[in-house]
Amino acid sequence: MDNIAPVFDMDYARKITDGDMEFLKELIEIFKTDCPEKLAGISRAIKEKNFKAIDETAHSLKGSSGNLGLTRVYELSWEIEKMGKAKNMDGANKSFEQLEEEFERFKNFVSKPGWEEK
């Protein structure tokens, strides 16, 4: 899948925090801390083929990623949430792998010094 959407929509993130970079960084730290647990929840739900849990865990990640401008994570968790809702797991593992990759790319992005000046 092509990565059309940016890994991190800085414009959106700046707007939502009203340009308060310190606050944005704080939110990102929280997200970085919470995300692995959410990913583990999705992974477990997929393994157990628990559709309700897939729906709920992906929905939760969708919410937090969307509001911080993590466009790719948002879209992939939405895809997985829809699979849970439709009780159709086709491609769930692949989407989940991409989700993990996108989270790693985001972590890399915000670990580079000066990312916030871009």
């Binding site: 606050f23 919470d34 709920e56 969307g66 509001n67 401008g69």
Partner: protein
């Protein structure tokens, strides 16, 4: 003014909290519907706006909204859902459960801010409306000159009290008070002086009553007092105290010192009847008190007469 923000995701909650704080609210945070509900119950009198996430563990946003709406609160609480649901069906369900507005996540900051301001405007309007209603209600039940209950409200409350006494098998007493030779005051000193006398009489009588007694203006120079009584004797004491409060001290009206007296008729009964009969019970009691008052006038005024069969 406080705002309640209920959202299970920490980063989203902090984000919303900051935006709402910028709008001048003190924010109460809850991470699920259960916590939101317990905070609401403690703080409901201070919360003017609530932002509720839709999907949450334990109690979801819809259920929390329903509970908030079922809770009696003096002011209006503006409720906004934050949801990633976009189905018309879901939106309708949210608004039908008592929500005023909803925002889909991820949201645009400016839009959320504007919508919070809409909520704030409605909260202010509602508060003004409630204040105006309270004032109108006070005006609607009050006699403008004396500040006592007007005749309609007086009757309504007396009916309630009589019905209560009938249910509880208690005595209830009614006292009619008429100012002696009031026309002379008006004729000699004018209506303004007459009004001042009426006002002072109302104040003096009110001072002699207990919080659960009822007093209202019955006619031009007549007052009705309703008194729940435990013993048959005490009702005459109350009436005597009222009589004494008027006759014992002259009225200073401008440069004039006036000696004023009142006559009182009392009746007492254990009322018996259905709710629908209460108005007749009241009318009968008034008739009896009135005939006792007539006797008091006949007997030379400035006295209390208890009605006897």
């Amino acid at each position: 003014m406080k705002a309640l923000v209920v959202e299970d995701d920490l980063s989203t909650r902090l984000l919303i909290k900051k935006i709402v704080e910028n709008e001048g609210y003190e924010v109460l945070e809850a991470e699920d519907g259960h916590e939101g509900w317990s905070i609401f119950q403690k703080e409901k009198d201070n919360i003017y706006i609530a932002l509720l996430d839709w999907m949450m563990p334990k109690i979801d946003g819809i259920e929390l909204c329903r509970r908030i709406r079922k809770t009696p609160v003096m002011h209006y609480i503006y409720i906004m859902f934050l949801t990633s649901k976009r189905d018309i069906k879901d939106i309708v369900e949210g608004l039908e459960s008592g929500g005023d507005d909803y925002m889909t996540k991820p949201f645009i900051r400016e839009e959320l801010v504007s919508r919070i301001r809409v909520g704030g405007r409605i909260a202010v309007l509602q508060r003004k409306l409630n204040e105006a209603n309270r004032k109108l209600h006070a005006l609607a039940i009050t006699d403008p000159l004396t500040g006592l209950l007007n005749r309609r409200e007086l009757f309504r409350r007396l009916e309630n009290e009589i019905y209560r006494a009938s249910r509880e098998r208690n005595h209830y007493s009614l006292i009619i008070i008429d100012i002696d030779y009031f026309k002379r005051v008006n004729d000699a000193l004018g209506h303004t002086a007459g009004d001042r006398v009426l006002l002072e009489i109302a104040d003096r009588i009110s001072e002699k009553l207990r919080p659960y007694d009822i007093i209202g203006r019955y006619g031009g120079e007549e007052f009705l007092v309703g008194v729940p009584v435990a013993e048959a004797e005490s009702r005459k004491e109350i009436a005597e105290r009222i009589r004494d409060s008027i006759s014992s001290k002259p009225f200073q009206i401008g440069d004039n010192k006036l000696d004023i007296t009142i006559s009182l008729g009392i009746t007492s009964a254990i009322p018996e009847g259905e709710k629908k009969d209460t108005i007749h019970l009241l009318e009968n009691m008034i008739e009896r008190a009135d005939s006792a008052l007539y006797k008091a006038k006949d007997a030379g005024r400035n006295r209390v007469i208890v009605y006897e069969e």
